[in-house]
């Protein structure tokens, strides 16, 4: 068995995490030594409890390890240990670096800029639209967009990046072949060919809540800068931001309105020194690159369309409210909104609730 396989085995032992592996490495030099060690050698180890020792001892079956490894290959899932070239160098700086990671598709390139776009799952359409727009523009400028494939901001960032035609990487808190939440399967599948799916957990590991803060360190570890789009005061995205801060990454945040609970975390980050950004170029100037200007087509709208369009923003407005704002009849508003929508200037955030399309 190659050393890669030994690492694969050690990373797959149930109940064994980074800490235990680190402890084992203090007693043994390589995972092969762990595999070949006899019981007496294990008994001498003091700081690992017996259940874990037993789990390690019982899983030492060459046949099963090789079989599992082949299963991965059959499903186009790759395993890479930190000792192999190609392992993302940025991750090796983490104090609790995963010893190996699973991935589908590609891994982020070390020499290409990566930006994590993260935020709350329960987001507003303001956050959702801007996350998508930032991701799209960054991806169009060959920036790798990294996020966590969760609901809300994460998935909008991935979707945006796919639209921008760039590579986007999703770091999972569950097995690398597990699409959670399930409704993201379309994005999940398309990311295999436009970026990749990354996880430190092997096949079939269920999405348990405690794994998600763990995967956040990989999101921040893989990226050069972290952009928090929308986060409440106690959002999980803030954990990633603080991890990134410890890892020495740049922190960017999108400002929200004062008193807006869904942006409280972002505003706090800005107060604490995160860079406030309102357009993608401001992230890039930190890395001395300029955003390619895409030619914006001139908007041609008639009088009513202009009136209605100007009353809309990123906060969803119902047709009734629009009608009230512009002082027109509902029957006059509806065709205008529909024509704006068909032209692509506005869209429906929820049924009959309109926002501008950025």
């Amino acid at each position: 068995m190659s050393m890669e396989l030994y690492w694969f085995w050690l990373c797959m032992v149930p109940g064994i995490g980074i800490k235990t592996i680190d402890k084992l490495m203090r007693y043994f030099n390589t995972p092969r030594d762990v595999f070949d060690a006899d019981r007496q050698q294990f008994e001498r180890i003091q700081d690992i409890d017996n259940a874990k020792k037993l789990a390690i001892l019982n899983s030492r079956d060459r046949y099963i390890v090789e079989r599992d490894y082949h299963k991965l290959a059959e499903r186009n899932i790759h395993f890479i240990s930190y000792e192999t070239s190609g392992f993302p160098r940025k991750l090796t700086h983490l104090p609790d670096m995963p010893k190996g990671i699973f991935y589908q598709g590609k891994l982020p390139k070390d020499d290409q800029l990566s930006i994590a776009i993260i935020g709350a799952r329960n987001c507003t359409s303001y956050g959702r639209e801007l996350a998508g727009d930032f991701a799209k523009q960054l991806a169009a400028n060959d920036i790798q967009v990294i996020s966590g494939l969760a609901r809300g901001i994460d998935i909008s960032a991935h979707r945006g990046a796919l639209l921008g035609g760039g590579d986007t990487f999703g770091v999972l808190g569950c097995g690398v072949n597990v699409c959670y939440p399930r409704e993201h399967i379309e994005v999940f599948e398309s990311m295999k060919s436009a970026g990749g799916i990354i996880s430190e957990y092997g096949m079939g590991v269920s999405p348990d809540a405690w794994r998600f803060p763990m995967r956040n360190r990989i999101i921040s570890g893989l990226s050069d800068g972290i952009f928090i789009v929308e986060a409440g005061a106690r959002s999980g995205a803030l954990i990633t931001a603080y991890m990134g801060l410890e890892q020495g990454k740049d922190i960017f945040a999108l400002p929200g309105r004062a008193m807006d609970a869904s942006s409280e975390g972002c505003n706090d980050l800005i107060k604490a020194g995160a860079k406030m950004v309102t357009e993608p170029g401001e992230i890039l100037e930190e890395y001395h690159t300029k955003i390619k200007k895409n030619k914006k087509s001139k908007i041609r709208l008639d009088k009513f369309e202009k009136l209605v369009y100007s009353s809309l923003c990123l906060i969803p407005k119902n047709i009734d409210e629009v009608a009230d704002d512009v002082k027109l009849d509902i029957s006059q508003i509806i065709p205008v909104l529909l024509s704006l929508e068909l032209k692509g200037y506005v869209k429906q955030a929820a049924r009959n609730h309109y926002i501008i399309n950025i």
């Binding site: 507003t124 047709i319 009734d320 409210e321 509902i330 509806i334 929508e341 068909l342 049924r351």
Partner: protein
């Protein structure tokens, strides 16, 4: 001596002739009641003898046999008390059996000889008319509903003595009426609670107008306190009064269920049913050994309002699917099938999520998963049966404070009247009455949008990614909108309005 009295019973909502035979002969004294009887009919034995005795007659100690025929039909209900008593008294010679032939008799007896009202009088009298009876003797409290049929003399009696005296020709009945109540022949409207009491909510009022005009099933989504229930309560005020044929159907159904008084207000009201969401599937479609009509049949020719749709048991909701298509429901039992009419306008209201405030993120406290699950209680096939879906918003405080009156029921009525007239004319050679009943190629034939409207619809179909089913619903609704505007052509404005009420699908929540 043998005697025979004709009575009737209700099976489903149809009446059937039941003969009550009595034979009193010498022999070992006995008293038995036969003919496949439910327990309330068996108990008639005691009620009848006591009330005969308390009416001043003596029953000799003889062999009394009573048979209810046809003997293979299960008999339910208390309406056989009076015919049994009459049959016994006739066998004893107190009533001449020759006089009995012309009457159909039904009623419940009290121990003191008083006649109490029974359920299902109207279908029984209908049946009596069909069989050529000239007079019906019914409890006096049931006379009002019995009169609706016409073509038969309906005699109300208060007690057993009155009935006997009447049959023997010794007395004029206390109530005797024979002509049907005149029902209006022209279209008129009830004036009740008015829509102008609702401030704002123009979108909701407009869609109610469309729903009523084209009989489109409607789903209303909105936060608590938006006035969804208030608006639906006012819908009968813009619906035309029942035609005589409709009224008779409705009256029969309510008669069977013993709810005639609920629907009677000097004339037959348009049914408005708002069952609580704890409703079972049996209560929804009808059930029982001999099935009784459920909520959907009680709403026949009227309005079924399911408030808090999301809270209904999904089993009860799914039973609606087939009756919504067929306009009737068939309930099968070992002893036969029962078909109940169920042609109703379905209106449902629900909150967009558990807390009710989505998509207002500032107020909504639900997690994305919760919001997603909330709608998934209602299956897509059921959602597809709604033609119109509309949002109700929290009332605008400015409009509320200033009491700025919106559209009134009378202005809505005039539009609806126009649309009804146009549909009547358009479908006079078809067996449908409303735009919502159009299917398949009829949609293509009657709902032709003009060129620019068609282009708009096709463009929207591609870009907004709605289903083919939604496409046809938009066409039907656009037809009704055009009718409301007194326009023969369906123009782009009608299509765009119809798109805004398009059928709800789970994509509503897609972006979460």
């Amino acid at each position: 001596m043998y005697s025979k009295v004709t009575s009737g019973a209700v099976y489903g909502i149809e009446g059937r002739i039941i003969h009550v035979e009595a034979d009193i002969s010498d022999g070992f004294p006995a008293y038995s009641l036969v003919g496949y009887l439910a327990s309330e009919v068996k108990e008639a034995k005691e009620r009848v003898t006591t009330s005969i005795r308390n009416s001043g007659f003596k029953i000799p100690s003889k062999r009394i046999i009573i048979n209810l025929s046809p003997a293979d039909l299960r008999k339910q209900g208390t309406l056989f008390d009076l015919p049994i008593a009459i049959a016994i008294l006739s066998s004893l010679g107190f009533i001449s059996s020759r006089n009995l032939q012309n009457y159909m008799i039904a009623g419940e007896l009290g121990l003191n000889g008083e006649v109490a009202p029974v359920n299902g009088i109207l279908p029984i009298i209908n049946m009596a008319v069909k069989h050529g009876f000239r007079a019906c003797i019914v409890p006096s409290d049931n006379v009002r509903e019995g009169m609706l049929t016409g073509g038969v003399k309906v005699i109300g009696v208060k007690n057993l003595t009155e009935a006997i005296e009447y049959i023997n020709g010794k007395r004029k009945p206390s109530i005797q009426l024979g002509c049907p109540i005149l029902l209006p022949r022209h279209r008129s409207y009830d004036v009740g609670e008015d829509f102008e009491e609702i401030y704002g909510q123009e979108l909701l009022k407009r869609s109610i107008e469309i729903a009523v005009a084209g009989r489109h099933h409607m789903l209303i989504i909105g936060p608590p306190g938006a006035g969804k229930t208030m608006a639906v309560k006012r819908m009968p005020s813009v619906m035309p009064v029942l035609t005589p044929e409709e009224a008779l159907e409705v009256a029969s159904i309510y008669s069977v269920n013993g709810k005639f008084d609920e629907i009677w207000e000097g004339k037959i009201k348009r049914p408005y049913r708002q069952p609580h969401h704890s409703l079972t599937d049996k209560a929804m479609v009808g059930g029982g050994t001999i099935p009784k009509p459920g909520e959907i049949t009680l709403s026949h020719n009227g309005l079924l309002f399911l408030d808090e749709l999301g809270e209904f048991k999904s089993k009860a909701l799914e039973t609606l699917r087939q009756p919504l298509e067929d306009k009737k429901v068939m309930i099968s039992r070992a002893h036969g099938d029962y078909v109940f009419p169920a042609d109703f306008l379905l209106v449902a209201a629900m909150n967009p999520c558990k807390c009710g405030h989505y998509p207002n993120k500032a107020k909504c406290t639900c997690s994305p998963g919760q919001i997603r699950r909330y709608l998934s209680n209602i299956s897509q096939p059921l959602l597809d049966r709604f033609d119109l879906c509309t949002e109700a918003l929290k009332p605008d405080s400015k409009k509320f404070v200033s009491r700025e009156k919106g559209r009134s029921s009378s202005s809505m009525r005039s539009h609806i009247e126009e649309a009804l007239r146009r549909q009547e004319f358009r479908y006079k050679h078809e067996d449908i009455h409303f735009n919502s009943q159009l299917t398949g190629k009829d949609i293509e034939a009657y709902c032709k949008p003009d060129d620019s409207a068609l282009q708009l619809l096709n463009e929207a179909f591609e870009k907004m990614n709605f289903s083919a089913r939604a496409y046809y619903k938009i066409l039907k609704v656009a037809r009704t909108i055009a009718d409301l505007e007194a326009s023969d052509a369906i123009i782009a404005a009608h299509i765009s309005e119809a798109i805004c009420y398009r059928v709800l699908d789970h994509k509503y929540w897609e972006d979460i």
